[in-house]
Amino acid sequence: METFLTYGSVFLTGGIICTIGQILIDKTKLSPARILTLFVTLGVILTFLGIYEPIVEFGKCGATVPICGFGYSLFKGTVKAITENGFIGVFTGGVTATAGGIAAAIVFGFLASLFAKPTIK
């Protein structure tokens, strides 16, 4: 039952975040690239304001898997690094926390492009 509830809130949170994105695409003609940029920045700002943390506690991966979760990790890492190392954390924290994701995206992206053939659209 507990698992069911957890996955329910994950589904709900992730679904709602994607729905907001879809409404923005349909209503404002913003391109997906702009939506991604907007959501990351929003994730950072909402984490800074302390609004995103409760959403993560409720939605778990439903809040961290969407791209605003990337912004959440960036700012959370910054706060952690500032607490541990002081001022230098302002610059080192964000990228340190997200380094795994960024490196994975670069490496898998490069490898995929080596093996995949471009398709004619």
């Binding site: 994950v10 589904f11 949170t13 992730g14 679904g15 994607c18 729905t19 994105g21 879809q22 409404i23 923005l24 695409i25 349909d26 209503k27 997906p32 690239a33 939506i35 991604l36 940029t37 990351v40 920045t41 950072v44 700002i45 800074f48 939605g59 778990k60 991966c61 439903g62 961290t64 898997v65 969407p66 791209i67 912004g71 960036l74 700012f75 910054t78 706060v79 500032i82 002081g86 954390g89 302002v90 924290g93 964000g94 990228v95 795994g100 994701g101 994975a104 995206a105 670069i106 898998f108 992206g109 490069f110 490898l111 995929a112 492009s113 093996f115 995949a116 053939k117 471009p118 398709t119």
Partner: protein
């Protein structure tokens, strides 16, 4: 068909918006909600499985991102992610698999232009702005956070 359109820009915009096909918004929202939700549930499942096998919470979160990025890259390279995107819209763009797709897709597309200026330079066409604005806003707000907590 009158091809000699002698109208102002705003009139032209009105004409285009009238002629443009309306995308079925409710259907789009439904698929974005369901597919976005399912991708997040896959992430939760990977995360729970890793934690079950004794991996710490922080590392499990990191591995979850890496796994989903791998999944996004793999599905893009076999040309499945773009098909999913046609149905799911933002449901496939917003999750981290979509971020991965935004890196892999241009990398594959520009492969013919060479390994350095094709793949290397075009990989971050969409993900680049994401990193620029994400990291810039983090450093600025981190600076404000530092001032508020340690200076005042």
């Amino acid at each position: 068909m009158n091809t000699n359109l002698n109208i102002s820009n705003s009139e032209y915009d009105d004409l285009i918006s009238k002629k443009a096909q309306k995308s079925p918004i409710l259907k789009n929202i439904f698929f974005a909600f369901v597919i976005g939700g399912i991708i997040c549930m896959i992430g939760q499942f990977i995360n729970d499985t890793l934690q079950h096998y004794g991996i710490s919470k922080e590392h499990a979160a990191c591995f979850t991102s890496i796994s989903l990025i791998f999944l996004g890259a793999f599905l893009t390279s076999i040309n499945l992610y773009s098909r999913l995107g046609k149905v799911a819209g933002a449901g496939s763009t917003i999750p981290i698999t979509g971020f991965s797709n935004s890196i892999v897709a241009p990398a594959i597309e520009f492969k013919s232009e060479g390994y350095v200026l094709g793949i290397g330079a075009n990989m971050f066409k969409i993900a680049g702005p994401v990193l620029v604005y994400g990291i810039t806003s983090t450093v600025i707000l981190g600076f404000i956070y530092y001032i508020f907590h340690y200076m005042i």
